[in-house]
Amino acid sequence: MNALPDRYATDDLVLRDPGDGRTLAQRLSKRYAARITGAFVVPAREGSFAPLPADLPPALAQALHTRGIEQLYSHQAEAWTATQSGAHVAIVTPTASGKSLCYTLPVISAAMQDKAKALYLFPTKALAQDQVAELLELNKAGELGVKAFTFDGDTPGDARQAIRLHGDIVVSNPDMLHQAILPHHTKWAQFFENLRYVVIDEVHTYRGVFGSHVANVIRRLKRVCAFYGVTPQFILCSATIGNPQEHAEALIEDAVTAITESGAPTGDQHVLLWNPPVINPDLGLRASARSQTNRIARLAIKSGLKTLVFAQSRSMVEVLTRYLKDVFDHDPRKPPRIRAYRGGYLPKERRAAEREMRAGSIDGIVSTSALELGVDIGSLDVVVLNGYPGSVAATWQRFGRAGRRQQSALGVLVASSDPLDQYLVRHPEFFQDATPEHARIQPDQPLILLDHIRCAAFELPFIGDEMFGTEVATPWLDLLGEEGVLHREGDRREWIADSYPAIAVSLRSVADGNFVVVDRTDGRQTIIAEVDYSAAAVTLYEGAIHMIQSLPYQVEKLDWEGRKAYVTRTQVDYYTDAIDYTRLKVLDCFDSSHAGCGQAHHGEVHVVRRVPGYKKIRFYSHENIGYGPVTLPDQELHTTAVWWQLPQAVLDAAFEQRQQALDGFLGAAYALHIVATVAVMAEARDLQKSVGSGDGAWFVSADFSGRGQIRGNDGQPATPAPGAPFTPTVYLYDAFPGGIGQSEPLFQRREDLVAQSISLIERCDCRAGCPACVGPVLAADEAAASTPKALALRVLALLVAL
């Protein structure tokens, strides 16, 4: 293996004079031009200020003076004006632009003047605690007499009563609102009767299944508020996403005034996209992202720049921290310059890290996404991302951590070997031009809706043709009546069951319950991970190697009913890959359109997924070294999908053999899945792909060389009769019962997706196909025209709009 240059060889790049993000970006670009696939600059912005509003209560203005705030940023002043006019407001400005003051001012002044109450919702407990600490400081500075409390799972029972009665500002999270506050709303009667503001921060995190749940919790909140005769004003805040206003309006189902121009000054921001160098051209192996991240961080810190490194896993945080500490913290007599920050640390430890960062005594911090959301750590110069965080929006949110008022900042995205990373880093224009992803929710998703109508019926009876969200609830109530949990008397339907439905509904996971992974190594009984129901069949079958923080565990026993997998720590040189056959049948087509020589559709499908066995694949060489059987029940799913088809005549003309067409469809499906995942801001597991016959008669799975194999409905290899119709079809479907609304936007963007898939494959450096484009293939000796890559391109070219 080619050795990398010596680890200290880059020290000549260290900035000797006090530098900033710009100078470091320039030096890196000059020295490592070949690794940098994209470089751009977000120009500096002057601050835009406004005086403190004249109608602010004097004591509050005084408190702001005491805290050194003499004027507002323009967006803070706008937010004040908008809230005072009674509008719902959405504030969308970058990280560290003083968003919280946008809601703190109206909330505190209403509390001081009218004894009005406010409910704050944050996605995590840590953010809630930060917010309360900030409120308390402001309160102390002006002796405002406003009481703010967190209310979460850690709040002791004896404190809860006091918080309900005396809290002016209650800071909680959607889960607590759902499970503890709304089902006990009568205990909060005084609070609700005086509720003026509901503040929901970080609304960009409320998307997909979680967001759809939260939108329904908000429906229930509004319903309970109506019972107490109040219609609170919503103030929502979001990091940058593509559709902030639309998303905020979808969440609260009401019009909002969006404030999107930040008045906070920023220095210019330099961004580098970095692909590690190829170290083995034959295998297409690149140097690890870790080694590159480490190198860049080391240079930055040596140059006197405050640096934050984001890693994708907790264990990677530890590894990178260790590497940096080896360089910077080898003298135990000196205070540490490097710190790690991640979930799993005690809150005390995290607070200490935050304090030290703010105080400037730490030079480098290595973190997971735990730091992504508004935790205040002061300003930084350089942010290095060890791997793509999964969305353009999250990438900018993390880059946004760097930047002081007048200084330039640097953000570097170091690509890992993951196909998504490789795609992104090879499409710098995607970054530069891309509007960040759109956040989408589907509050009327039937299963989610039914869950929340159930909870709502527990909270207050439904009367007459009452609406829930945008629909009349009656048909759902009939269903609950049949189930026996509601009793109907006249036009009232009341909860009658001896159960507490909110407990059974988790906002953060999909239906059917998560699996827990129990480590039994050396007689232990420790839960070490949780796996979603939808992923369990393909990751927790007996014999599976389950990687946790890159350590291999072997699944010894899977208790499907009990939702438990028992594993032990193991030392193996292979990983396992489930062979899963997915069969789809179209139930209903909502919409169709021409797509080149073929057609694109979206609609409702029936999915049957079976895992008959698994492959053992050796690390690095990726050779297949064995198989194992799996016995698990079939999983069935009604959901929505988008799909593409080509007519038989076109395929017969374009391909000499049907096998080639199948290979082409498999590769096209792989590439479409990658670009679609990016396009809808999906978690990869929430969107799945499949190739099958248009009439559901057969489906195609990749054999271990990456070639398509037709299988019948029993999962056995099959050959369709010569005269049978041949209409291979690529499906992308929602892996959530009933669908979660991803297929419609995908259908809208169908032409884009095909075009992007083509460009993804064309630009890939591999010869015949690889995990970054059409999926893993075995090196074969066929002609260039019939590589899986070429075949996939041929299929996609036929789908390009004429």
């Binding site: 089902p183 006990h184 205990k187 527990f458 207050l460 026996g484 009793h487 008397e489 001896d498 439905p501």
Partner: protein, 233 residues
Amino acid sequence: MRRGPATISSGDREVPGIEIAPGLRYTEALVDWLDPPAVVETGFARMAPVHHYRLLHFDTETTGLAGGTGTRAFMIGAADWLDGRFRIRQLTLTTMAAETAMLRTFAEWLSGDTVLVSYNGKCYDAPLLATRYRLARLPNPLAGLAHLDLLHPVRRHWKRQWPDCRLATAERQLLGVVREDDLPGAEAPAAWLTYLRGGPARNLRRVAAHNAQDLKSLAGVLLHMARCPASPG
């Protein structure tokens, strides 16, 4: 497929008492039961002595133990001393719509100097009724009343001697009460639900009997404890 609850049509629909409002049944019984002193010593609960006419023993029967806004009382039993005899009054819902009438009637039985007597009522019955009054948009008549919850003093005294401190145990140990044909408390929700859906009333009558016995035992346990020396500290 889910199947709905069977709609039953039973011939046995007899719920005791008179209908004082649509869907609300009222029973009243005067029984000879113990002999209260004029002033009941309540030092064991760190309360000043109480004249017996101020005592109101109460107990609810509910649709379950889940708590929250979805649990309701379908029966309220309350008992007091009237001219030396024990008066047991019970309100039973035969329709859900009668809940407001039930809550109003119960409120009329309370006055500012009422001392409530219950078994775990501070944690269970009183908060549950508070929720129901709030949902019915009525003032909560229990708020601010003195409340003697016997569970805690019983626990303090006997938790080491007895296997548990349920009311059934206390009445057996202290009063020698042995119940016959008693409907276990856990079956009360189903008894009412069955009736509500058109089924037989037999078990609902057994709930009423169970509730009445609970009230008698409450008074018995209270008077027993009143005779105990005040607990130290």
